[in-house]
Symmetry: C2
Subunit: 250 residues, 2 copies
Amino acid sequence: MSRRIKLVLSYDGTDFSGWQVQPEQRTVQGELEKALYKLHGERTSTIVAGRTDSGVHALGQVCHFDADSSIPGEKYREAINSLLPGDVRILSSLEVIRDFSARYSALMRSYKYLIQECTVPSPFSRKYALSLRELPPLRYLNECARQVIGVHDFTAFTAAGDPSKTKIREIFSSSFYMENGYLVYKIEGTAFLWKMIRSIIGTILETAPLSFPGERMKDILESGDRTMAGTTAPAKGLYFYKVRYDEQQG
Amino acid sequence: MSRRIKLVLSYDGTDFSGWQVQPEQRTVQGELEKALYKLHGERTSTIVAGRTDSGVHALGQVCHFDADSSIPGEKYREAINSLLPGDVRILSSLEVIRDFSARYSALMRSYKYLIQECTVPSPFSRKYALSLRELPPLRYLNECARQVIGVHDFTAFTAAGDPSKTKIREIFSSSFYMENGYLVYKIEGTAFLWKMIRSIIGTILETAPLSFPGERMKDILESGDRTMAGTTAPAKGLYFYKVRYDEQQG
């Protein structure tokens, strides 16, 4: 009988056309399923918690697959890593119950966005953070960030082409803070619409320097009007950070 | 009359065959002199403080050149950056006195080496730090690091082919400490022999876990015997950090 394996993985999104397998493109799922094919000798499909876009990174992405192999769950990590390119790494592997789904069992997903204040963009963060000459005051950034907490219709912050039936999502936390010399934006929610986080960040960065930033942010959210929101922030600063599951499942 | 310009620059060494111009190779000096050629319409030679090897990074490298142009010293930064690839950036530019030499006026050069403790090497530090499964205790690392401080003959810690007449160098500081989740080794000295720092680090990492690490390190240094030293640590963890000049000159 086949077993279900959960993987936690990290990847540098720079040279990937996102998570999802696409013909002629180098994707994380593509590289992972190639490695699993070598390991199992047959096609193995993976289901992921968050299908990241092209250029988006991951620190604690989660996926699962089913396998008939005799490889112990925790041995998959080394086995798969030996077959993967260096820009994607399995951090841990574990056998889980058949009911577990990396996608549907997720209770909370969180993302981080990294911003660096600098006159000259550092050669080291050019692919890993957004560089800004001047940061708006943390207080105003957080006044804006707070507005998206709770249950809202996020139509104003998604891209045309998002396939979700409802644009209503619940956000548990949304805040800016300094960490290791970077300005970090962290957002936690059940799930996110397509380009929703990058659209929220782009809008906050444009709104925070204005007067009454919190009120403006609230107006944009409530308008449900995409044209009122700001530019979508670049993918290179975004990191899929973590997924939380029910303790009995994950 | 031509003026002398001092540049402070940072580069991601990953895709460079080191600093120095070499035929058919992509080097930092090569890219910089190409940009200066476009700017001045004639060949402009640069003199650097530390000729870094292939794969070695720089946070505060310094070089100078002479130019007949009318570009103000502090405007060179933007002018050159607009002509350079993203993995090398001019952090500042300044007109200096004709006596200044990025190389010969340097009173102190410092380097940092980054090490990360992890079971699985992170996709984000794979080109920017050495990954180790387990770090020796900081106390023993520093017992070894201390031994190289002062004036010593560093024959044991250089590579065959180093062209320097004397292998005697003065080291002002040499220590390990934690910074932003990395173990950092920092060394400050007048100047360094070829591969000297990577050879010191490689030796310390092999010596620190043994008994009497300080005494062993001292013996290796005093032996003047390259075969007693450890493996040369990989270039990807090494950063040219800073140069100090006489205040009137730099």
